[in-house]
């Protein structure tokens, strides 16, 4: 496919449909990310070649008296409708013209992959959301202090020693947590783990929650350990920032110490990886258009992201 340079804003706007993958910085609200993106899109479009003011109809009856106003008559003769001028009617593209919604939300303290559906991409974003794809997190926890809401910027409530905690013990705990979460999933489906029914269920693929109320964990793994800090990799659906933070807190208590989340990073959302995501200095129109194209390729390569066979979506009860 040949790529041509486009200078016309209307053409760009017409093709501005699809999913973009944005790297959300930690500490920035989702709303602010969204406003920055749509604001920059509108700004970029307004800097391109825009539509000229439209012409007045040729046989329009002269409005007003037009006695002392030569320039009025002149303008009407030249047929430009000044009421459609950019200075009078306002910018051609405004942020609210761009429709934009997230696929799944990220908390304030979380950084990482954030998917936005833009304009017609809203449909795709809803489809992706319905399929409930897995998100992968890298969560860094800091042992020794517990805070009020398990995040680094709130008040410290407890301090504890963590000399006895080793990488092995964390790995062991993570494995047992993963096992119990998997067991819970089958139990919620109403099948015993040691039966043929459970085997057939497992053959059909991942068991996903039917609605977005119940968080489900698919994997917990220790990937890094360096004394006060350790990093876990989490595979989850329907998780929230608070859920992960509480999980870290509970794990630390199990390890006979206390901890809080020092960093929460979403590295993958379905097939959308952190390597393709758009950093803050790339949040301008050319960057966004390029990113749209990249995500479209991913969607074409993985059509199951949009229409997936229903794999045993069980009703979480």
């Amino acid at each position: 496919m040949a790529l041509a340079k486009v200078y016309d804003a209307a053409t760009v706007f017409k093709h501005l449909n699809g999913i973009i993958n944005v790297y959300k910085p930690a500490g920035m609200k989702l709303k602010h990310v969204r406003n920055a993106i749509i604001g920059n899109i509108a700004k970029g479009l307004n800097e391109m070649e825009l539509r000229e003011p439209r012409k007045l109809a040729r046989d329009t009856p002269l409005l007003g008296t037009g006695t002392a106003a030569d320039s009025v008559l002149h303008n009407i003769a030249s047929n430009t409708d000044l009421s459609d001028h950019i200075l009078a009617a306002g910018p051609r593209y405004m942020p609210r013209d761009v429709r934009c919604a997230t696929v799944a939300t990220l908390g304030d303290h979380t950084s990482g992959v954030l998917l936005f559906g833009i304009n017609d991409g809203l449909k795709q974003s809803i489809h992706i959301q319905r399929n409930r794809p897995i998100r992968v997190y890298h969560v860094t926890a800091r042992m020794g202090t517990a805070t009020e809401n398990h995040m680094p910027d709130s008040r410290v409530t407890v301090r504890a020693n963590h000399r006895h905690v080793s990488a092995d013990r964390i790995s062991g705990l993570a494995a047992s947590l993963q096992a119990s979460h998997q067991r819970k999933m089958y139990e919620m489906c109403g099948v015993d783990l040691q039966t043929q029914a459970a085997y057939e269920l497992a053959c059909k693929g991942l068991i996903r929650p039917a609605d977005n109320s119940q968080p489900v964990l698919y994997g917990i793994k220790l990937i890094h350990f360096e004394r006060p800090n350790f990093t876990l990799e989490l595979h989850a659906i329907n998780e929230s920032e608070q859920f992960i933070a509480a999980l870290i807190h509970d794990m630390a208590i199990e390890l006979r110490t206390v901890a809080h989340c020092s960093q929460l990073r979403c590295v993958r959302h379905a097939h959308f990886d952190v390597t393709d995501s758009l950093l803050r200095h790339g949040w301008h129109l050319p960057g966004i258009v390029k990113n749209l194209r990249r995500q479209r390729e991913i969607l074409e390569a993985n059509p199951q992201l949009l229409e997936q066979e229903r794999i045993e979506l069980h009703a979480a009860s």
């Binding site: 007045l56 009856p61 409005l63 000044l82 200075l87 910018p91 960093q263 990073r265 950093l279 803050r280």
Partner: protein, 350 residues
Amino acid sequence: MFSLWLRNIAKIQNKTQIGTKCSIINQQVRQLRTLRSVQNEIQVESAEQSLPQEQRIKSHKEIALDFGNREAHVPSFNLAAHVNNSTTLQQFISLGVDLHSIERRKGLGDFVLRLDFEKDVKPYLRFLADQGVAPDDFGRLITKNPLLFKEDLDALQTRMEYLESKRFSVEARQRILTQNPYWLMFSTRRIDRRLGYFQKEFHLSGHDIRLLATKEPRLITYNMDHLRKSVFTLREEMGFSSKELQTLIVHKPRLMMISPDDIIERFSYIHNEMGLSHKQIVQCPELLASREFRLRERHEFLKLLGRAQYDPQKDLYVSPSDMVLGNNFYFVRNVAKSDLQTFDLFLKTR
């Protein structure tokens, strides 16, 4: 509801064939129709197919005239509705005034619409041109502050003379007018009080206060409450001495216009995390003018590379003012001496 009612009247008219008799009703209907949009005028024509040719043309003309009257009475949504009829607004557009942003502010749309270009606007533009304001800036000035046309021309002259008496140079006055469209709205007494406040608060010399006012003219007319808070933050919360504060303010007057919460956050990062002393901060006030996330990502990147060394006495010194200069590409190539891919990868790990 309204259209349904109209249609019913028209139906009755057609059925009973007494259209000629009740011409009063007919006229009323037509008047009501002209109040609605053009689409419905087409309906008028189709409904009156039975009328002879001349009469139809006549009614068409009447509608056209009614349309003119409607322009005068119907409330308009924005200034753009009047642009085709008003010389003043057309002149404003050719000057580059953004009518769209004027009308969004309360009452200003009404005010601008009442102006007469020759009488109300031209003398002021001539005055501004006499003070050395470039005609290219007129559009921006009027967009920001259309209420300038409400002020008395003699008062404006007095205000400029006040500046002259305070030994502001021609260029300085020109810059003040161009940068701060609101300056002329303030009475001489008020401007004098404010200049006096800054001079007393920071013990500035005459030269310094002129430099301050010229560098950031918006500071002088800024919200006084906000300024007092900023001064408190800079002096008491951050603990700059009066001498340091003086240099800081004269070099970067904009610091006082930043919200106190933001600036204290930046200061605490620079002072506590980056470990710069008050003296070093005073030497490069650009640091405080840079947003916190920018400082944070750049400092952490330098730290990762092992280049976060801000002490000029030691080797591999990185100037803090260089650090916040320019875009990411400039920073990565010239300060961090790395490449953008590495920087991007680093940003994606946090």
